[in-house]
Symmetry: C2
Subunit: 277 residues, 2 copies
């Protein structure tokens, strides 16, 4: 029997430019453990952070078409750059409920700040879109939002230098100006950054609240599914492939990285060519 995409039983589609979105998957697994997940990482075309809006929209659209072909009941854009650049367009084009990581992160930060100074660290694409600033200003107009692009964080994380003097040195350079202007809240605006959260936290100090949008995104997804009566009430039976992983390239490398992030062991990732969608 083919699953209908409005069925409670249908999976949730989650996508990212690569492995970073797995930090969001980890939160979804924790908060709504009955859900099936189909994850897609666009490893053939990563990174998205330095690419233009038009290109991000084209790539994201292809991925959503692929996920729709897999009969998902909802889509999570687990990539800050794609959420920033493509979510508005996708919301108009895609038939299933779709949500991103930016809005939940912005909301949490707006609630957390006391002195009204929020920092955002992210890729060049996310920072130049000013999307976090726009959302926060709607919620709390007297806030000052300071963005800082950190292009070396993703390659450092992918090289495995999570706890390393080089990562500390680069983080200090990127974060100094945010410390100088006395922010009290910092959004980790790229799904890779929670993996170097301890380094960032030590540099920023105890008085700065770090916001990880992955947590709030999973919470918002749960609410969205509840509202649409799409929450899966029973745990899928073993052996039905509750979690499935697809990439556009280099499945083995993805698998190794995924197994270092998720507690759950990934057995395989299948390769699909996005240009067909």
């Amino acid at each position: 029997m083919e699953l209908e995409s409005n069925s409670k039983d249908a999976p949730i589609g989650v996508f990212d430019s690569g492995v970073g979105g797995l930090t969001v998957v980890r939160e979804i697994m924790r908060q709504i453990p009955n859900e099936k997940i189909i994850y897609f990482g666009d490893t053939a075309r990563l990174p998205y952070g330095s690419k233009s809006k038009d290109t991000i929209i084209r790539y994201s659209r292809q991925i959503c078409h692929f996920l729709e072909s897999q009969k998902v009941k909802a889509i999570v854009v687990a990539c800050n750059t794609a959420s920033a650049q493509a979510l508005d367009t996708l919301e108009q084009e895609i038939d299933v409920p779709i949500t991103g990581v930016v809005k939940p992160g912005a909301k949490t930060a707006a609630e957390a700040t006391k002195n009204g100074k929020i920092g955002v660290i992210a890729t060049e694409g996310t920072i130049s879109s000013q999307i976090y600033s726009q959302y926060i200003m709607k919620l709390k107009p007297d806030t000052e939002v300071i963005g800082k692009a950190c292009p070396l964080f993703v390659p450092l994380v992918e090289e495995g230098l999570l706890i390393d003097p080089v990562t500390v040195e680069i983080a200090q350079r990127y974060l100094t100006e945010l410390i100088d202007i006395d922010i009290d809240t910092l959004i980790l605006g790229c799904t890779h950054y929670p993996l170097i959260r301890s380094t960032i936290g030590k540099i920023m100090g105890d008085k700065v609240t770090l916001v990880n949008p992955a947590y709030e995104t999973a919470r918002e997804l749960k609410e969205l599914l509840e509202e649409k009566h799409l929450l899966n009430e029973t745990k899928p039976t073993l052996g039905t492939g509750q979690y499935q992983f697809y990439v556009s390239d280099a499945a083995d490398k993805f698998k190794t990285f995924a197994n270092s992030i998720l507690k759950y062991g990934i057995l395989s990732a299948k390769v699909v060519n996005m240009e067909q969608y």
Copy 2:
């Protein structure tokens, strides 16, 4: 009048995954200044270094089709990863003469070594292909070739940290094992690396010869054009657009970077969508 691709007047097509191939363009401009050049940088899909062979072939094929549509008389694969993974396939499919950066670099290194120990630094894709080793072994079978992938060099160069303590620290980590086994020749097997040549040179010391394949590639291209009677004998008249630059994304960023590498100022880079080719 449309140019025929076997005309002396026709341009040379040069491509890379991004900006690195401009170090090859710089050498072609120096050594055969009468030639027209059409450069393509695949900035929407970079980096190639961590992608699989199949993907590199598919991307390179699309770019060659684009360059052929521009009536080029020859193609230079100015990317080590694409030369390593796709050149054999492209040679069989493409109608114009085509050459890469690996063979010329391998030849120079084989001639340069005295103790028979050659190091190669490059992306993961180039190292795992073992292509430098294969070429060198054909020329000088008793040579020992030691490859070392340096995945952080490209992002460090793209972040502009050409002379920087962080780049020195990372380079020391990557290069230590090559120093320990006493190589006397080191191939800069990625077109970005000549831009941090001075850092690499200081760490390796005076006794190690650094080989920059860009120089030899331009020399081999000149010989190839002479042999086929395709060398342009007169300098193109001003205003005919001797050098033209195309990218698949983010033309402005490309322009800024290109102008820091080339003495010649680039006025514009046009964006083309590779999925059409």
